[in-house]
Symmetry: C2
Subunit: 187 residues, 2 copies
């Protein structure tokens, strides 16, 4: 399961509590593997039961700091080197595009325009994050930077694709209404 490996990886970098981890999921990791508070705490207990992580410190308010055990690190490394994840596909936005035949051309264009403006906004946000973050040579920083760059590139091509797609739909709409134009030419 990916969530457990995400936790193993984060705890291998440095010890943290469930509370800390939830914040890291909300901030940096949300982009590739979102997880809720509920899931994180449940999974931490499961990993601790399995001996892949262990409590290294207890703090106020019942705070428990975990770290990855040698067994946990072995499992993480096995997962990273021996399994090849199929590139995850599930994309609700593109499913919508696939079903756009149920709408008028105008509505389809609106859908795609919405995809475009969403991409523009997100690209700006990600680029700002890239520019405002102080990157260093630590693994978390180097690989986090790679993932962020991936996010930026994907968002940019989503924007470009949406613009192209709008054009495609308009061409189709025009060619269909060719014989019966709404507005005849001036001659």
């Amino acid at each position: 399961m990916s969530l457990s490996h995400a936790l193993l990886g984060l705890l291998a970098e440095r010890p943290a509590s469930g509370y800390d981890l939830v914040k890291r999921f909300d901030q940096s990791l949300a982009a590739v593997w979102p997880a809720t508070q509920s899931q994180v705490y449940t999974e931490l207990n499961r990993l601790a039961d399995g001996g892949l992580i262990t409590v290294v410190a207890e703090g106020p308010r019942g705070r428990k700091e975990y770290t990855t055990t040698p067994a946990g690190l072995t499992e993480l490394r096995r997962w990273l080197t021996e399994t090849r994840p199929r590139p995850e596909r599930r994309n609700e936005q593109m499913l919508g595009v696939f079903l756009l035949g149920a709408l008028s051309h105008e509505e389809a264009v609106a859908y795609l325009t919405n995809v475009e403006s969403g991409a523009v906004a997100e690209a700006a946000q990600l680029a700002a994050l890239r520019d405002e973050t102080e990157w260093d040579d630590s693994p978390g920083s180097v690989y986090g930077r790679l993932v962020l760059e991936w996010g930026i590139r994907v968002t940019e091509i989503r924007r470009d694709w949406a613009r192209w797609a709008v054009g495609q739909v308009k061409v189709r709409a025009a060619s269909i209404s060719e014989g019966v134009p709404d507005e005849p030419g001036p001659w």
Copy 2:
């Protein structure tokens, strides 16, 4: 739920049985919204119970052909026009990249090289599909074509990104071992 809307959309195009729909999921729709046989049949019964689809014909071997009802079409159109899906993020491959700090530089490079070769293979497959399919002006064809183009573009930038990322990791590896080179220069 997305699966139900996918089914509403497919059945709005033309009537089909569960068996037909499973095949369509495996073929064209797998790229954006995979679904299992088990899921499809269960969901069809749920949609029929809710009056969003209805049986229009029965065939041999208990075959039931469904079509989308007016209520179903309304719901589909509402979903397409009124909900704005957050661009789905969950990406196991990129989660792996994020956690690459648990591996050596060499292993990390191997991981990224694997991402690249996977993308190369997939891009070839998708481009072949694009070139071999006979596209027409039906909505299913037009919008299917848009989604396929999206898949091709994403795959191509995954390939390019992976090449760039390998370079980035090698630069880091080199700068870290700078003071202690394995192979000293010839002077």
